[in-house]
Symmetry: C2
Subunit: 182 residues, 2 copies
DNA sequence: AAAATATCGTACATTGTGTTCGATAAAATG
DNA sequence: CATTTTATCGAACACAATGTACGATATTTT
């Protein structure tokens, strides 16, 4: 990929991130973005079809990071690599979110929250469908999946909206207390 | 209130309901609404400041109905009036939603879904905060409330999105199985 | 019947979108 | 290094939607 393209793409992402800290996504105009990013109008449209497709690609990249299994050494939050149970995996995801909380908080305003939610659920389903399948409840499978994924995403959104005051371990701990038979 | 105002207001609500069945809220223009409602442009703006405030008022009216405790005789779904437990109250709400599913399904597209969710949570909190307070779990109060309300709303949204195939009784039954200690 | 007021409808200013195109600058290629 | 390829610039443009203004008309209230 051409170096210029990469620079422009990064500048656009950065610009949107910055702007989202001051206003809601629906109030950000393409003009705002190209001013903040210092690029030409036609350049923006050669990279993204619309403002929404820009947001989509931003969310996708963000969740690729959040759900990546490779923690960089300094960010490793005391997990031995053989911990593979659902508890530590969920905690792992929440630590990533906390580490990127600046950008994620910005996205969680107005319209763009819906895109966040959509991508979050998609990635969670891929990652945890098997885990969920093994949880025994007396309800239909699709209901169970919907419930676990949905309630977890709602919990995380609540956690973010309230300023990430709890530790990821506490959030996951409380979540599992609500959801697991004791 | 002037009869003309009432007629216009109703015409605007009907128009938006109709339009939402064919396209998403964000794709409906004020022009669409005034054409469908057969009113003048300035008339629309004398009733509502923006398209969004129209949606707000529509949602508010809708949930006033959904959470009203007086079922009309022919719509009463076999509840004796002394049933006051959380199960039958939730079921009651879901029957109302099912009865108004046409309009509610329409609102559950695109942007407007968020407003639905917001109002739904607000009304649920008011109605069930006391019930929830009496449920024993080993987690903080605010976490518990957030979890119960959030997971119920997600469950209802999932139910609606999948075509309301289950009966309200089944939905509430499965929900409580996930949430109540047995 | 008279006064009050809701609606009509047209016109208008404004804002944002997405496209086009020739000129310019920067990168890849050999 | 020279050449080709390609990304960016920037200004102009057509288009669509928003929200406002106002005099004329119709309907309701008193």
């Amino acid at each position: 990929m051409d170096r210029r393209q990469m620079k422009t793409r990064a500048a656009i992402f950065d610009a949107l991130s910055t702007l989202l800290k001051h206003k809601k996504f629906e109030d950000v105009t393409v003009q705002d973005i190209i001013d903040e990013a210092n690029i030409g109008r036609s350049t923006f449209y050669s990279h993204f079809e619309t403002k929404d497709s820009l947001l989509e690609e931003m969310c996708d990249e963000m969740f690729k990071h959040v759900f990546s299994n490779d923690l960089s050494p300094e960010k490793s939050h005391d997990f031995s690599k053989d911990e593979k149970d659902i508890s530590s995996q969920l905690t792992h995801v929440l630590w990533h979110i906390k580490d990127h909380s600046g950008n994620i908080k910005a996205i969680m305003n107005g319209e763009s929250e819906k895109m966040f939610t959509g991508y979050f659920k998609k990635y969670l389903e891929d990652a945890f469908k098997e885990h969920i399948r093994h949880m025994p409840y007396g309800v239909p499978e699709d209901f169970k999946e919907q419930f676990i994924i949905g309630s977890f995403v709602e919990t995380v959104k609540w956690w973010i909206a309230n300023g990430l005051k709890m530790n990821p371990e506490e959030v996951v701990g409380n979540f599992l207390k609500m959801v697991i038979r004791v």
